[in-house]
């Protein structure tokens, strides 16, 4: 009889398929038109600018045990 999977592991997902699909999506985006790519980069640059002015208001640190 197959050994039952421990319950604690059930909340974790094997994402290897998801990550493979993400790499594929990146390859697909390489074929976007220059205008579409420009717009995407512009939006991300805007966010990066906002991130630079970000303020940490609560820091929890690491769990020690």
């Amino acid at each position: 009889m197959a050994k039952a999977e421990p319950i604690v592991d059930r909340k974790y997902t094997n994402l290897s398929r998801l990550f493979d699909a993400k790499e594929q999506a990146k390859k697909d985006r390489a074929h976007l038109s220059p205008t579409e790519k420009y717009r995407m980069v512009q939006r991300l640059n805007e966010i990066n600018k906002s991130l630079k002015s970000a303020k940490i208001i609560k820091r929890q640190g690491v769990k020690r045990g």
Binding site: T13, R17, M40, S50, A54, I56, V62
Partner: protein
Amino acid sequence: MALDRVIEIIEEMQTNGVIGSYALGGAMAAAIYVDPFPTQDLDFFVHLLADVSDFDPLRPIIDYLEPLGYPIQGVEFAIEGLLVQFVPFTGKLAEEATAQANIVEIEGVEVRVLSPEYLVALMLETNRAKDKLRARMFLDQDAVNLDELNILIKRFDLEEKWQKLNQL
């Protein structure tokens, strides 16, 4: 700012029981602590509350976002012009990193963001070439508390990968 709307939608997913905890990770989170590096999307680590299949791990999120007009495109969702990826927990480290996330104010919006120490530990865990380069940036720019990072390295058995990173 489109990020407001993304956070609003994620918090609605939390209120509606689709996800539990969440936090921004990946390159966008890193850009808060070190010089930004190229990325195309926002990665959110999420605790999925429903049992999911490894073949279709994002199903509860797809079912929630599609009727709102945000269908999945590949593995990401285009929300207000931003590509957003949801990454369910793959293990204990990602789960703990999300629970211990910093609260960061970004243009008036409070966002849960993975701390630099957990980001570096996750980079060590995944250990792809780009993760090693990024982890190195955190060290070179003094962006991590080394005492805290050492605690994670020991607790999550990352010593060997850590030693190799230090030889780069």
